[in-house]
């Protein structure tokens, strides 16, 4: 019985780190541009499908496939910023939300035309498993955890230490003043979308060996990343990571009660929190 709870907890942390990565992507865009990007899940899906299709059908090596997938996601993000977000940058938030929803639908439709509606698989990055405390842990889990931690640390360093990262934060803090200081806000927005899409692509590729990926799976994952970000408080990347882990755990233990209503859980979390604590659960 003990090992049963342990399995749930480990699974929760795995799924939670994926959510945490997606929520990081959300926050990168939200902090730099103030846009709630609902196409985040589609970036994830594109990264994953691009990698899986060149690996499975094209026979390209794993490493190259991963790079291609992440690149495809990043490129999509940059294109979305240039073609869809930039022209409406000064519109009210509702317009921006509708535009990103529209973008997500276009990407979904495009993906179903390019890759079809069948699910794709990726082999795990390394086979085998580790036995600890009477529980078998798949090696892929360590990859997920490691890459997630590395991404978070890298991002933290980037935002705290580099001039570019600081410029992006300045845009979030005060767009007018940032512009006056000579920061190119358009370029920062482009960078934010590219970076965030790269993060989403990475999380998609990490996730694919666990769950298969198809053109319509991104939306729900994006929504969960958003739920994590809201849970931690929008605009607080670290809290969003914690939110992702909490949501992952909640879902695993919730699924133990009723797997049918798993999807409702993330949505309910979003609704209740936006209503009762829009500043997130960690804010004082």
């Amino acid at each position: 019985m003990e090992s049963f709870w342990l399995i749930l907890a480990i699974k929760g942390v795995m799924i939670g780190s994926i959510y945490a990565l997606i929520s990081l992507g959300f926050n990168v865009i939200y902090r730099t541009t103030g846009v709630l990007n609902f196409a985040q899940g589609e970036f994830l899906m594109i990264g994953s499908l691009a990698a899986a299709s060149v690996h499975g059908k094209g026979g390209v090596g794993m490493g190259t496939a991963l790079l291609l997938g992440v690149g495809a996601a990043g490129l999509t993000g940059a294109l979305v910023d240039r073609l869809a977000i930039r022209p409406v940058r000064h519109s009210p938030p509702v317009v921006l939300v509708i535009v990103t929803i529209g973008v997500s639908l276009v990407l979904r439709a495009a993906a179903s035309l390019i890759w079809g509606t069948d699910p794709y698989h990726l082999p795990p990055m390394s086979e085998g498993h580790v036995t600890a405390g009477g529980v078998q842990i798949e090696a892929q889990s360590f990859w997920i955890l490691g890459v997630a931690v590395a991404c978070m640390a890298g991002l933290a360093l980037f935002f705290q230490r580099t001039a570019l990262g600081r410029a992006m934060r300045a845009c979030a803090e005060n767009p007018e003043a940032a512009g006056l200081c000579g920061i190119d806000r358009g370029a920062m927005s482009l960078l934010a979308f590219g970076l965030s899409a790269v993060l989403a692509g990475i999380s998609g590729i990490l996730l694919t060996p666990l769950l298969s990926m198809s053109y319509d799976r991104g939306t729900m994952l994006g929504l969960k990343g958003f739920a994590s970000a809201v849970l931690g408080g929008l605009g607080h990347p670290v809290a969003g990571v914690a939110g992702g882990l909490i949501l992952g755990m909640l879902e695993q233990f919730g699924a133990w009660f009723s797997s049918a209503h798993k999807e409702i859980l993330a949505l309910s979390v979003v609704i209740v929190l936006l209503l009762c604590r829009p500043q997130g659960i960690f804010a004082r």
């Binding site: 709630l36 938030p93 999807e263 609704i271 209503l275």
Partner: protein
Amino acid sequence: MMPGRRFLLLLGAVAAGSVLSLQSHRINPYFLDVAVTVAINVILAVSLNLINGYTGQFSLGHAGFMAIGAYIAASTTMFWAPGLLPAASSPGFIGMAVFPAALLAGGLAAGLAGILVGAPSLRLKGDYLAIVTLGFGEIIRVIFRNLESVGGALGLNGIPACTNLFWTISMAALTIYAVTSMVHSTYGRGFTAVQDDEIAAEAIGINTTRYKITAFVVGAFFAGIAGGLYGHFKLSIDPRGFDFMKSIEIALMVILGGMGNTVGVIIAAILLTLLPELLRPVAEYRMMLYSFLLILLMLTCPQGLFQPRFFRRLLSPFLRGSAAPAEDPPRPA
């Protein structure tokens, strides 16, 4: 428009509906199908326009209300009414007496849900409200998918074919009549006041809470009726038919027509229903086209197509420089 004239138009539409319905065997069934679909979409778009357009709340969960109406109405004609009145299971009786009651029940149930979904609008606005209503719509769909008594993910089949031109045209006319009468009445100016400036509206004594909830309840009620009509027209419903895409489709009609512009919204609903029919050869690109249209509209004219300003902008290259409309005001920080 004088209220009397509006009422006469309603009566005229109902009369036209009954005549068309009696003569429906002479009409090409394909056109009949399209006409019913157009009318249902008009109901959906006009009712959403009350919430999104006139009252300025942004709801993306209209398909959820439609689902509630469809399921409740179908359950009424299929299970509840025959259960209560075993004699009432003759098709004629269901079509004439049970069906209107079923539509009403579906509308009322959706209206009740409207209270629940509208409540967040008291605390949230703009993008956050859009997200919360979207979430509610999805939750409603997932609940129906897990409800085995109405077929779960497979959906509900064998719904009696009660929807005809008479009911759809009458209901569409009733929706338009109710919404326009409401917003053009002394009471109804409050909806527009809430949209224009909520704080100012409150300051002059308008109960903004009541207006917002009323908009959600009335909008949801008519969406529920549209759902009931839809179910008894398609004869089978399944949760996927009421997903987020459907909400987007309805929202697109409102945005295209211009928020708070009933005539524009009706035209948009008709156009957007006919468009896929014309584009049938490229059906798989339909969703993509819709989404592109949505983005394009947001980029070029978020105020909607059917107003003078759009045509001015369209023509501005051919007019003098001074005729070009002003840019949108920048987003407040």
